[in-house]
Amino acid sequence: MTPALPGIISYRVNPESTAAAEPVVHIRADRGNWDFHNLVRAPIQELVQFKELIRNTVVRDIKVRYKRSVLGIAWTIIAPLMQMIVMWTVFTKAFQVSMPNYALYLFSGIITWNLFSQSSVAGGASILGAAGLITKIKLPRVLFPLTAVINNLVNFSFAFAALLLLMVVTRAPFHWTMLSVPFMLLPLILFCMGWAMLVSALSVFFRDLQYILEIALGALFYATPIFWDPTALPAKWHWVASVNPLAKYVFMMKASIYHGVLPNFSTYAIATFTGLAMFVIGWIVFQRLQRKFIYWI
């Protein structure tokens, strides 16, 4: 071993000697990656410690996005409304869809879909986007995909206000089942967070993933009942709605907002389980890979 330094520096190591109430960080290379501490307890403790940063990241992202734009935060409402108006024009005029309150039907689907698609795009790019911070400062890296989802949840709530307005303007009936929207949202949020963690971690190693994701999202949009009605689906296509988890989330949302019914228990249970499973998978993959980020960013 290295010789002891005279005087001030000592090479003797006495790890058990600390008794003070101060933060002590112990980092050990050979610690098993799969244990409860590394996988669950330590990251959660860190997230709690950095809760102010989580809040600030959400606020900052909203501020920065609309800095120097004339309409500012109003874009979170205008963009999905425009999306809806275009689709509404195409499907009612060109394709002669004659569903009652089709605008509401479209809009409730669009804002739910956007929560997922924008979470996965922004969340997926969040680690690469935070490279400057991650390579310089110790912080819980998982906060970046998580705040990206929270951010889109904020956007969703603005868009939801627009939805209420749309219902008033188009004289669509209000159903009491709308009160269940937060519960319909919960499994979707878990799903989005898990997905964002998964994509953000993997795209550090495979940059192609972001391009693949874009294409996949484009395809998934059509496999999700946003402009079409799942009950009018030919039997040979039923598997699409049962394989695609997004179909369930969008369907549940539309059931409570548009149809005025609550999804049955098994649908909700499956949706919750899917969301929870995606969260757990995303969390584990992220925590397993996050130490290697710095070599690849």
Partner: protein
């Protein structure tokens, strides 16, 4: 505050710390290659984890290895060595950014790293907004930051510019804000990587004064610089790194 153990336990202890870089990282993985290598590794792991040392040795490079030292509280220690000798890697391990490949370490107390000033600043936000953001990066709450903000702004000498987006700052202003922020979070351990050359001469003097006052308050400083004069002025002792290992420590 001072129980005797608090004064005697070192602020930083490293024990056999090593960081291995894999030099084949630039190579583009194909998906097939990845799956094959993962599958073989999984097979090895199922049969016992001892195989780890045998893989990819040709492409491995140890940025640091067998680094063991401890820094008592209140001491300013200088890390010296040529480019690529492992100084910054060592600091990154201590600041918690880089997880070591082998060895273990203890860091006691709140750490603030002056590795790159203003690393978390967002150019579109104002100086004030960036202070709040940057302070929360160090784990400070909003209330704690509110108490400090005037002092930070005064120290950075940016009173007139604090509500301007930092995009419009000069590089000196940017670095001053970064230094003022990072040293005002009242760390127990300050990690400084070649940043003292920011700003003009009077500001540099203020930085030096602040570092001195850290030392007086029994705070620990880890200092990396290529400037032998700065090392001599500040540091109580130095550790010299060479090719990722501790060379001969200067007495």
């Amino acid at each position: 505050m001072a129980t005797s153990s608090l004064l005697t336990t070192p602020a930083v202890e490293l024990k056999g710390v090593g960081v291995r870089y894999q030099l084949n990282l630039e190579k583009v993985f194909s998906l097939k290659e990845l799956l094959v290598s993962k599958a073989t590794r999984l097979g090895r792991q199922l049969r016992g984890r001892e195989q780890q040392k045998t893989r990819r040795t040709a492409d491995d490079f140890w940025a640091i290895r067998d680094i063991s030292f401890s820094v008592p509280r209140g001491v300013c220690i200088g890390l010296t060595g040529r480019n690529g000798s492992g100084k910054s890697t060592t600091l990154k391990v201590i600041s918690g950014v880089l997880h070591p490949t082998e060895g273990e370490l203890w860091v006691r107390g709140r750490v603030s790293a002056l590795i790159e000033l203003g690393a978390g600043f967002n150019p579109d936000l104002t100086g004030r907004e960036n202070i709040y953001f940057g302070a929360s990066v160090s784990g400070l709450s909003r209330a704690e930051t509110a108490k400090r903000i005037d002092r930070i702004v005064d120290f950075a000498e940016l009173r007139d510019f604090i509500d301007m987006p930092v995009r419009n700052y000069s590089s000196g202003m940017y670095a001053r804000l970064g230094f003022a922020l990072a040293t005002d979070v009242d760390p127990d351990l300050l990690i400084v990587d070649e940043v003292l050359s920011v700003g003009d001469a009077p500001f540099q003097q203020k930085c030096k004064d602040r570092m001195e006052s850290f030392k007086k308050r029994n705070k620990t400083i880890l200092f990396v610089s290529h400037d032998p004069q700065a090392i001599q002025d500040f540091c109580d002792t130095t550790i010299e790194l060479k090719d990722g290992r501790i060379n001969s420590p200067n007495p």
